[in-house]
């Protein structure tokens, strides 16, 4: 049964107890992303301090995969430099879109490696990336406004 490969324990843990959930003040930019096929949504706020990702807060409506991956995101990027955060994002995205071909580097994406199984289900890849794309978009906006 492949189900357990996809829904690794780490994913289910993050899903049941998402880290960093909720919308917080202060923030520099807020984005709202949707998954047009299933209607899942995330509203995400970013607070930068200089070049550091100071806080990521979010409210999301979605499946276990999208909720868990946003939770993992906050663990990975808060406290990092924007450059470092984007390197993590790229690495996570590469794995997620690899159709199971890229295992993901645990040193870079930490708990994110648990999503390697998801990458074999193309319809779920967008779920795994929903929060990440909202984050990317939010940071780009802060930078553009600056």
């Amino acid at each position: 049964m492949k189900l357990e490969q996809m829904y690794q324990e780490i994913i289910l843990d993050h899903y049941r107890q998402p880290h960093g959930a909720g919308l917080r003040e202060p923030f520099d930019a807020e984005t709202h992303h949707v998954n047009p096929t299933c209607g899942d949504e995330v509203t995400l706020r970013v607070k930068l301090e200089g070049d550091e990702v100071k806080d990521v807060s979010y409210e999301s409506l979605g499946c276990s995969i999208s909720q868990a991956s946003t939770s993992v995101l906050t663990d990975l990027v808060v406290g990092k430099s924007v450059q470092e955060a984007f390197r993590i994002l790229e690495s996570f995205q590469e794995m997620a879109q690899s159709r199971g071909k890229v295992a993901g580097d645990e040193d870079v994406i930490g708990d994110g490696v648990a999503f390697a199984g998801v990458s074999k289900y193309p319809a779920r890849v967008k779920c795994a990336l929903l929060g990440w794309m909202a984050f990317k978009d939010a940071v780009v906006r802060v930078k553009e406004e600056a």
Binding site: K2, M6, C38, G39, G62, C63, S64, Y121, R124
Partner: protein, 428 residues
Amino acid sequence: MTAVQAHEGLDLTAIRGDFPILSRTVREDRPLVYLDSGATSQRPRQVLDAERRFLETHNAAVHRGAHQLAEEATDDYEAARAKIAVLVGAEPEELVFTKNATEGINLVAYAFSNSSIRTGLGPETERFVLGPGDEIVVTELEHHANLVPWQELCRRTGATLRWYSVTDDGRIDLDSLELTERTRIVAFAHQSNVTAAIAPVAELVRRARAVGALTVLDACQSVPHMPVNLTELGVDFAAFSGHKMLGPSGVGVLYGRTELLEAMPPFLTGGSMIEMVRMEGSTYAPPPQRFEAGVPMTSQAVGLGAAVDYLSAIGMDRVFAHEQELARVALDTLAEVPGVRIVGPTDLTDRGGAVAFVVDGVHAHDVGQVLDDRGIAVRVGHHCAWPLHRRFGIAATVRASFHVYNTADEVAQLAEGVRAAKEFFGVA
């Protein structure tokens, strides 16, 4: 052809034998349980064979050539139109071949916006002119295909979009809106692709006529699943797709009353839809040719004709009875699973055979994944009816939908699968 039992039920062994895809397995040896016919149906051998036979013996450009193949291809193409006309109670020349129902609805919408730019048009097109103050009415349960084209038509003409809202059991709420003298179009689904509620067509047509509005019926989920007589229903336009009725993808049908089609300006323009072309300007052929620009979906029309033969041999009343029975099984078995909420009517009155639901504590996508893992193919998401989902305060539902080849046993597996999903996600 199709073997059906002498008495009530369908001979499912024979029918299933006609559909090659049903014998495949998915996800490591699970037999396929295909409960996603509302999205697209599967095709019987008879349809595949008819298309192939056409392509191996008669294929040519239709309505253009004078050689024997061209004659034969044209005959086959028009014979398909005639068969479909019989199925839906219309005249062949009232049916336009489109690529899908979406194109059909857009064709009607563009007839209005093209007419609203008056330069170079005859007086017969005046009845299609729209402007600020005019109203287009839809419902909150529409598929995007019968909503977005009207939003865009409003944008292009300045008309206003209004809508009937939806009752708690997923039906059109007839008390939620009064049509006015400014209502010009009333567009609605014959059967919701989510709640499976069947619309009170007679009443909606009566109201539209009372204010002089034209009606557009989205028949995507009715023509494939029940007896439909468009002339008796009295609608002005109707659209449906081949791929949902055991026929090929890439072909759909727009029905329009002759008098209306004759008055409408063209939509897509090009070859085969003209009367006379000069560099300075062109005149157009009568319907349905006027609306079939370019080389059409020839073999697909022929395949759709074969699908009509297949369905007619079974009988649309029996197709409907079969699907209602499957809906009953789904509703009954799901009712026993705690935390399952049906979006749509829970009894069979004026209801077709799709069952949409949510499971408390497990997102539809996750339910769908567990079902898929068991070989059960359902659709999860908003099913292109996002506003309906918003109306119920949910992002996504799980939808099981059926066709002639589904068995009660398959449907019963659905509830088991939902139980397994709840277990997997620890929602007891």
